[in-house]
């Protein structure tokens, strides 16, 4: 629900303020180059439920009517899937400037902020994760991993610094995939380590695309301090959202990082993976392109290369694949806003997606983003596909093929 706190008196020309602020951000000024073609609204998976679609938002801005946008629910319906931005012929940064910018304003006023999101931000600010779990317990998952997982402390070094992420560390379901990846890295003889309790949210998921810029900058600062204390060649991430933060946002702030998503890291080592495969997995698999890995960062092939190292696997494609993939609906903070969003839309996105996956004849829906696991697993149950479609992370499948999964 929206927190209906009293607002301060709006600025005389809030629209002009907004546009001026946009102009100072990279590609922010492109908002004004919009040609009103409607490509964005047409490609938005929830556009039908928005009273102000992206195109209409820009139209409203041109008419000086930002107040209308502040009152609209549409701003909170965006799931950050990046479809609009990807297709805009003029390069308007709709997701990261327009929507994010409007959210910054609403968060700043404290008005109309869904309380579930506010709680996630407060927890991230305080505990470094949106779940409100103790930072000291961040690496508790490593105890039962079955392999040695080194914590790289202040002054230490590792060739690969593995950024596990909030979901991979705290979410019980995702921890299993963290364990799988740890076992793969060990089998590949990679010199890797984690930050342990010094790791905190990378900032992308709850922050930059959701308008809590202040929180993002704070996290960025703290994270860079932690990175500076260690020596490493590569930053490995399991979460595409962290990948996007480190690959796109951190360079913008002057601190680029040599980052690889786990599917890229494994794809680079495909021959070695093939050599180590012990099992045949005779299943039909379809891969769901994560928005943060795919549309946002152009990585479509690595996960497929990795899946193809598994003997017996048959890879099928959904009609909406690669840059046309349908978002799981969890980005942009939407993971916390499902109640809010589903009250205002028709069939939830994850339900649509799993139905699409099942229609290909696949038995496994392979994913590469931790959010997708619980979202798609729930959707499989709601769509009555239990027993017909399994949702598995790429790392889980690779570990399975390599015979590393016993005892989880």
């Amino acid at each position: 629900m929206l927190v209906g706190a009293e607002s301060e008196r709006p600025h005389e020309d809030a629209t002009a303020d907004f546009l001026q602020r946009m102009g100072k951000l990279p590609s922010g000024e492109k908002i004004l180059s919009c040609i009103q073609c409607g490509m964005c609204s047409g490609s938005c998976p929830l556009g039908y439920a928005m009273d102000y679609t992206p195109r209409r938002m820009i139209s409203a801005l041109r008419a000086g009517r930002i107040e209308d946008l502040y009152r609209s629910d549409a701003i909170w319906l965006c799931v950050s899937c990046f479809n609009c931005t990807f297709r805009c012929p003029v390069g308007v940064q709709i997701t990261d400037r327009l929507i994010a910018g409007l959210r910054v304003d609403l968060l700043s006023r404290g008005v109309g902020v869904p309380s579930e999101l506010a709680t996630a931000f407060e927890r991230t600010a305080r505990y470094g994760n949106p779940f409100g779990e103790s930072p000291k317990k961040r690496d508790a998952w490593t105890k039962d991993a079955g392999v040695d997982i080194r914590v790289v402390r202040d002054g230490d070094s590792a060739e690969v610094l593995w950024w596990v992420g909030c979901f991979g560390s705290y979410n019980k379901r995702n921890q299993k995939d963290s364990v799988a990846l740890a076992r793969i890295l060990t089998a590949l003889d990679v010199d890797f380590g984690i930050l342990g309790s010094d790791e905190r949210c990378s900032g992308d998921l709850p922050c930059s695309s959701q308008g809590e810029e202040g929180l993002f900058y704070e996290l960025h600062q703290k994270n860079m301090q932690e990175f500076a204390k260690r020596k490493f060649k590569t930053v490995l991430v399991g979460d595409p959202h962290a990948y996007n933060a480190f690959n796109k946002e951190y360079p913008r702030l002057g601190t680029p990082l040599p980052v690889r998503h786990h599917t890229q890291f494994l794809a680079d080592r495909a021959p070695e993976l093939r050599r180590q495969m012990r099992k045949e997995i005779r299943m039909k698999v379809t891969y769901h392109d994560a928005c943060c890995l795919g549309r946002r960062n152009g990585e479509y092939e690595a996960p497929r290369i990795v899946l193809e190292t598994i003997p017996g696997m048959k890879l099928l494609e959904m009609p909406r694949n690669r840059e046309n993939a349908l978002c799981c609906g969890g980005g942009g903070g939407a993971n916390w806003l499902d109640s809010f969003i589903w009250q205002r839309t028709r069939v939830p996105l994850p339900m649509q997606r799993v139905q699409e996956a099942a229609k290909t004849g696949a038995e496994i829906l392979a994913v590469s983003c931790p959010l997708e696991i619980p979202r798609f697993e729930d959707a499989v149950k709601s769509a009555g596909l239990e027993g017909r479609l399994k949702v598995l992370d790429v790392s889980h499948m690779v570990a399975d093929g390599m015979g590393l999964l016993g005892g989880t």
């Binding site: 579930e116 379901r173 499902d338």
Partner: protein, 327 residues
Amino acid sequence: MIPREVVVVAEHVAGELSDITLEMLTCAREVAFPLGWHVTCLILVDDPKPFQALPLASDRTLIVTDAPLGSFNPAAYTRVLLHLLKDLSPRLVLLGNTSVGMDLAGTLSLGLGAPVVSGCTRIRGEGERLSFTSKLCGGKLLARTDVGDGLAIALVMPGSYNRELGMVDRVPPVEIRASPVSLEALPVRFLELVEPKTEDVDITKVPILVGAGRGIQSRENLKAVEDLAEALGGAVCATRPVVDQRWLPRTRQVGRSGMTVKPRLYLALGVSGAPEHVEGMKGSDLIVAVNTDPDAPIFETAHYGTTVDVLELLPFLTERIRASRGR
């Protein structure tokens, strides 16, 4: 040795004695009996009739009457109590750790120069010394306090004592007095009591309850909780934080400031077990708690527990119950 007195300050709403009063009487007797002390149940009220024939577990019932005492008014109560308690000079005064008792504690403590211990779950008399056990920090800490001689005031946590022992098989001697002080020009006035809207389910009457705590994480997960309640033939209730977030109406709130329930089955889902909630459901016949934190205080109250993720458990549980019932 002069027998000392334990005074229980009774709480009542709409002519009925609150459960906490009976618990305090049980507590008072437990302390007083081995030491040969006396227990007085002190009732401040406008009309003594509903209370003068109650078989309370005290050695005497002292009813003090005046019109402004009909409904709870902290200003009226403290004025009367300060005067009365100075006169009675008890060793121990018991108040409820409730919205009534907490309004009185500070004024009485400073006015009588007596220490006050809140959140008490156990009180013991050991010779001249009184020893109090309290829960702090959401039930994660236990504090022990000792008070030597002189008056001590304690706030008893609801759910700590057996209220059934607060009533016995005979009516104690009853004394009715008028208020010893004038209750004119009070800075607080009681205007009216508003009952909760009753269009919703009365959870105090439902034999199977499924309690939703913060651990269910979001409003949309309530649907799974409701499915389970329906499969069980029961109703959904909630902890205060869940109600504060408006995920469920206040009529579903279980706890200190909500309802006290005693169903045959209470399934606590994602409930940490903070004392304020536990006091509202402690009396349930069978309590099963689901919480991923093995140290969650709820496990001290529950009969059965599991650290399995509630969101994982719900679908399995609902399905098996439906199957069991042949639905």
